[in-house]
């Protein structure tokens, strides 16, 4: 009798349990979470600062700087200074405006012709009227096309942004300001006036930050004027508005900020 075969036969549930365990291994497909989620506090670097980047540039820095210096110092034959490349969007918008002006002139002249019309029952006049209406239709279609181009251009320039909200404050805690720092990024200090603190205690929400940000993970360090500091990792996906809500209701004092609850979501 072989013990292993007998074990498997006596315990089919073991195989099922093993299958379920393997299915739950890290790397299993995670479903997108669309609901607000609590943010875990972690102490790790958000960026791979040891990654090598722009290796050729850094290895040949002196050579390239010398070439750049010569480039920047070259004389301009016309003496007007160095010209910048025109933004393609600027050129596109200028050409669209020129087309709009031309179409507007066409509409104006056709309107004048219509106002001078005397005999509408004449077949000739009716034929001309029909062709003028056709022209108007074409001009309107062209205008719609231009608006579509502008709309698509604007939609293609959406940016990534972050809004930071505050809520909650315990009765005996009076922080006068909140500090939010990011290494290699902006440093923010927002005063919390007496009225703001009172509103937070009554259930109000205060928006303290709304800016465009880089679409990446950010490590934000929060302080409330004391020795305490706490970090949160916030991912701001590309072309989305991200919200970070900080709930201060369980903070005891500025030296211990572990009571701050953070939630992140995207709109």
């Amino acid at each position: 009798m072989k013990p292993s075969r007998q074990s498997a036969r006596r315990n089919p549930g073991l195989a099922i349990a093993l299958v379920l365990f393997l299915s739950a291994l890290p790397g299993a497909i995670a479903f997108a979470d669309e609901t607000p989620r609590d943010v875990k506090v972690e102490q790790r670097s958000v960026q791979d600062n040891d990654l090598n980047s722009l290796r050729f540039l850094r290895a040949n820095r002196d050579f390239l700087r010398t070439r750049l210096d010569r480039l920047l110092q070259r004389p301009d034959p016309a003496g007007r200074g160095e010209a910048d490349l025109l933004d393609n969007r600027h050129l596109l918008l200028r050409s669209i405006m020129a087309e709009i002006d031309a179409a507007r002139d066409s509409v104006r002249s056709e309107n004048i012709a219509l106002e001078r019309r005397e005999l509408l029952d004449s077949i000739d006049h009716l034929a001309k009227l029909d062709s003028q209406l056709t022209l108007m239709d074409r001009l309107l279609d062209d205008q719609e096309g231009r608006l579509r181009v502008i709309d698509e251009d604007l939609r293609g320039n959406q940016n990534t942004a972050l809004i930071i909200l505050l809520k909650g404050l315990p009765p005996d805690f009076e922080p006068e300001a909140i500090h939010i720092d990011e290494s290699g990024g902006p440093s923010l200090r927002v005063s919390l006036a007496v009225e703001t603190r009172a509103a937070l205690r009554r259930g109000g929400i205060a928006q303290i930050y709304h800016e465009y940000v880089e679409p990446r993970e950010h490590e934000l360090r929060i302080g409330l004027g004391g020795r305490g500091e706490i970090s949160f990792l916030v991912d701001t996906p590309l072309d989305q508005l991200s919200f970070l809500q900080l709930d201060l209701a369980h903070v005891v004092d500025s030296g211990d900020l572990n009571g701050i609850r953070a939630r992140v979501w995207q709109d």
């Binding site: 790397g27 990654l51 980047s53 722009l54 290796r55 750049l68 070259r74 679409p215």
Partner: protein
């Protein structure tokens, strides 16, 4: 015996099925494919940010693709440059350049790295690799740095290296793909 082998096969199959696609974030991509993400980050950093330089941050394959590219933007208003190192899906590193580099912006239209490499291979790159046992080591996009006779020309600089011969540098017009010059060094 049959039951044991069947169970083992199921376990292996389930392990493979449950594993995430290996190195999804390490899949190589061309320089143009990462531009939108890098540009979006740069615009958040500075409204007047312009792309002035890019190069491969990981080794290149035969299609001009790399697992990571570095994009350098310069802001005249901030008088600083900021570099983004991207893999296929995300920004792996964002940091200000540690030295002053107010390079002119590259043109808004340029051939992607795949096309630029194909042209370079056709002209001299392939022959160099075959003759000297060399390999493609660097592709970088810039304006004016390597061809001061035409300082407004954006160019791909493509470098092939070999242990047994000087490196081959090829300079291509980044818009039209014409080989501007080649040299060894």
């Amino acid at each position: 015996m049959f039951y044991r082998h069947t169970t083992l096969a199921m376990l292996v199959a389930l392990t493979l099925a449950s594993a995430a696609p290996l190195g999804a974030e390490e899949a190589p991509f061309t320089a143009g494919q990462g531009l939108a993400l890098a540009s979006s980050a740069a615009k958040a950093w500075a409204a007047d940010a312009k792309l002035v330089y890019l190069e491969n941050d990981e080794d290149l394959d035969g299609d001009g693709a790399a697992a990571r590219w570095g994009y350098l933007f310069h802001s005249q208003a901030k008088e600083r440059s900021r570099a983004y190192s991207l893999d296929r899906n995300e920004i792996r590193q964002a940091q200000d350049l540690e030295f002053d580099f107010p390079a002119p912006p590259v043109s808004t239209e340029w051939l992607d790295s795949s096309r630029a490499l194909a042209l370079a291979e056709e002209k001299a790159g392939r022959d160099y690799r075959v003759e000297h046992g060399g390999r493609l080591s660097t592709m970088l996009l810039s304006r004016g740095l390597f061809h001061q006779a035409d300082p407004d020309l954006s160019t791909w600089t493509i470098v092939f290296s070999s242990a047994s011969a000087p490196s081959l540098f090829m300079l291509l017009d980044a818009e039209k793909g014409r080989v501007v010059r080649t040299w060894e060094g």
